[in-house]
């Protein structure tokens, strides 16, 4: 427990709250990196996921592919890109983390669309909705909780992996960990971890809230607990990426 009191002492020291390597600056960097990574990942993954979910096409390629992508070791990919791109900027880890954030967002999007009851879509078509209208006015609103769920797990993953990526010369909260490692400075490592944990929990809470707001009222009321448990879409809204990919 001693290391905990030391960690809190480290957190309380005013010197650690100022300057370019102070806590506020590192948090801002971490949030900036995370936000940027998520934005790019969403811009790429959401259209792909929606396309697959809406048309059912490409599923056989993308689903195994995203599954295999989850097996990629973060540190290895980050280093590989760093060697490829060179230099000391954030480009290399940014690209790596965007790639690693794609699977949960894609999975959330297509699982969300697939969870929409076929008869609802057929009903929409029968009253003359175009494919585009079906997508934006029926499927996406109904799938929104699962879509947000995918982004939510991507967000957690991105926050966690930016700390690992600080093996490379970038800022963010991972600096506290890698800079403390050579000196066996447990206090700073623990303190750094605590900040990461708090940040992750806050982000997760925020997404939980967004997810609740995104759930259409009719869906929330009408959802039975075991809708589709045996198929692809899990009952949990927040971990869509756990969806089994049974052939």
């Amino acid at each position: 427990m001693n290391s905990y009191s030391q960690a809190f002492a480290w957190l309380a020291a005013p010197g650690h709250w100022a300057g370019p390597s102070g806590i506020p600056q590192r948090i801002l960097e971490h949030l900036g990196y995370t936000g940027l990574t998520l934005l790019i990942a969403i811009a790429i993954a959401l259209p792909v996921g929606l396309y697959i979910g809406h048309t059912g096409r490409g599923r056989d390629v993308i689903v195994p592919l995203t599954g295999a992508m989850r097996a990629l070791p973060t540190l290895g990919i980050v280093i590989l890109l760093a060697l490829w791109i060179g230099g000391i900027g954030i480009q290399a880890p940014l690209i790596a983390l965007v790639v690693l954030a794609l699977p949960p967002v894609i999975a959330g999007a297509y699982a969300g669309l697939e969870s929409v009851d076929r008869s609802v879509i057929d009903a929409a078509r029968s009253i003359g909705f175009t494919g585009w209208q079906v997508l934006w006015q029926v499927e996406v609103p109904l799938a929104l909780p699962l879509i947000v769920g995918g982004i939510r797990s991507a967000c957690l993953q991105v926050i966690a992996t930016w700390t690992v990526a600080a093996y490379l010369p970038v800022g963010g909260l991972g600096r506290f960990l890698y800079d403390a490692l050579p000196n066996q400075d447990y206090a700073q490592m623990l303190a750094g971890s605590l900040i990461v944990i708090v940040l992750a929990l806050l982000a997760d809470g925020l997404f939980a809230l967004v997810q609740r707001l995104a759930t259409p009222r009719g869906v929330a009321a009408g959802r039975t607990p075991d809708v589709g448990t045996a198929t692809r879409s899990p009952t949990r809204k927040d971990q869509t990426w756990l969806a089994p990919e049974e052939a």
Partner: protein
């Protein structure tokens, strides 16, 4: 086809038991901590997390086992604070070290400068229970390097000249450079130079070099035996105040394992480790991409020490 629940539970139970056995029984696990089970005459050689240290660790281990002493190697442990801690709690017995940096680690106020002064100060500063064997003639020191253009543009050939440089200075080096007496704090204290660290975790390797060549950092901490210094015509800055001490390669060993035989084998090895030999080993590592084990084997075969 029907399956019984007993089959299901049995299979899972077997899996769980297997896993428990894996973690509980170290002999089944090639990574398990051998030091606790191995007989007390095994010498466990540790290394820091950069190629030269790994090569030297394998050279020590191979030389010892060529002479009938049981050895085990634990490479890539980390930086000095980590492997010294592992040495102190008996997880490793022997580690290749560098006299000056080790002296400053044990005694931050050390004033010795030359190889012999540093070595005798280090012998005194080494904690009881541990000792350094004979030092090698070979040296590998941290060194501050700038590009030729930078050196000419700002007329910098020595660390003392850096004070005149008007642009902000960034140093590419491992992250521990932020706290070491020969790193950022030393630069400030000894030469009155303010610099910021860009932490690049390759111990002055190719990524540090590329940052220097792209002027993303203006100074790079590169170990003096690294071939890239010459290849890229870098200017190694002089150190008139001897901020960086002499850095001869030296084996640090726990006294319990430093039998006469072990000591004599390692002293024979150390005598053969010259600066040129170190440079050659590093060339094989960074240019030819040979593994530390290979380089160690080839070196011992070539030297015919035993």
């Amino acid at each position: 086809m029907a399956r019984t629940r007993r089959g299901l539970i049995g299979a899972l139970g077997a899996l769980a038991l297997g896993a428990l056995a894996l973690t509980g029984c170290s002999s089944g696990n090639p990574l398990a901590d051998d030091t606790s089970t191995a007989s007390s005459d095994t010498v466990v050689v540790g290394s820091a997390n950069f190629p030269e240290s790994e090569i030297l660790a394998y050279i020590y281990a191979d030389a010892l086992s060529d002479n009938g002493i049981k050895t085990d190697v634990k490479p890539n442990i980390g930086e000095r604070d980590r492997y010294i801690a592992a040495l102190k709690n008996g997880e490793i017995d022997l580690v290749p070290e560098y006299t000056g940096n080790l002296l400053q680690f044990f005694d931050s106020k050390a004033t010795a400068q030359s190889s012999d002064e540093v070595y005798s100060a280090l012998q005194k500063a080494t904690p009881t229970g541990f000792e350094v064997l004979d030092q090698s003639p070979g040296q590998d020191a941290d060194s501050y390097n700038v590009t030729k253009q930078f050196s000419q543009k700002y007329k910098v050939t020595s660390l003392a000249d850096l004070k005149k440089v008007s642009v902000p200075l960034k140093v590419g080096a491992n992250s521990e450079f932020a706290t070491r007496p020969y790193g950022i704090p030393g630069l400030k204290k000894v030469y009155g130079v303010t610099a910021t660290l860009v932490p690049i975790a390759d111990s002055g390797g190719p990524n540090t070099l590329s940052a220097l060549l792209k002027n993303q950092v203006q100074l790079a901490d590169i170990y003096s035996t690294t071939p890239s210094i010459k290849q890229n015509h870098l200017v190694t800055l002089a150190d008139p105040e001897h901020m960086i001490l002499a850095q001869n390669v030296v084996p640090l060993i726990s006294s319990a394992k430093a039998s006469d035989k072990v000591a004599s084998v390692l002293n024979t090895v150390s005598k053969a480790v010259t600066t040129d030999e170190l440079i050659e080993m590093n060339t094989k590592s960074s240019v030819d991409k040979e593994s530390a084990q290979q380089i160690a084997k080839e070196w011992l075969a070539e030297k015919k020490l035993f």
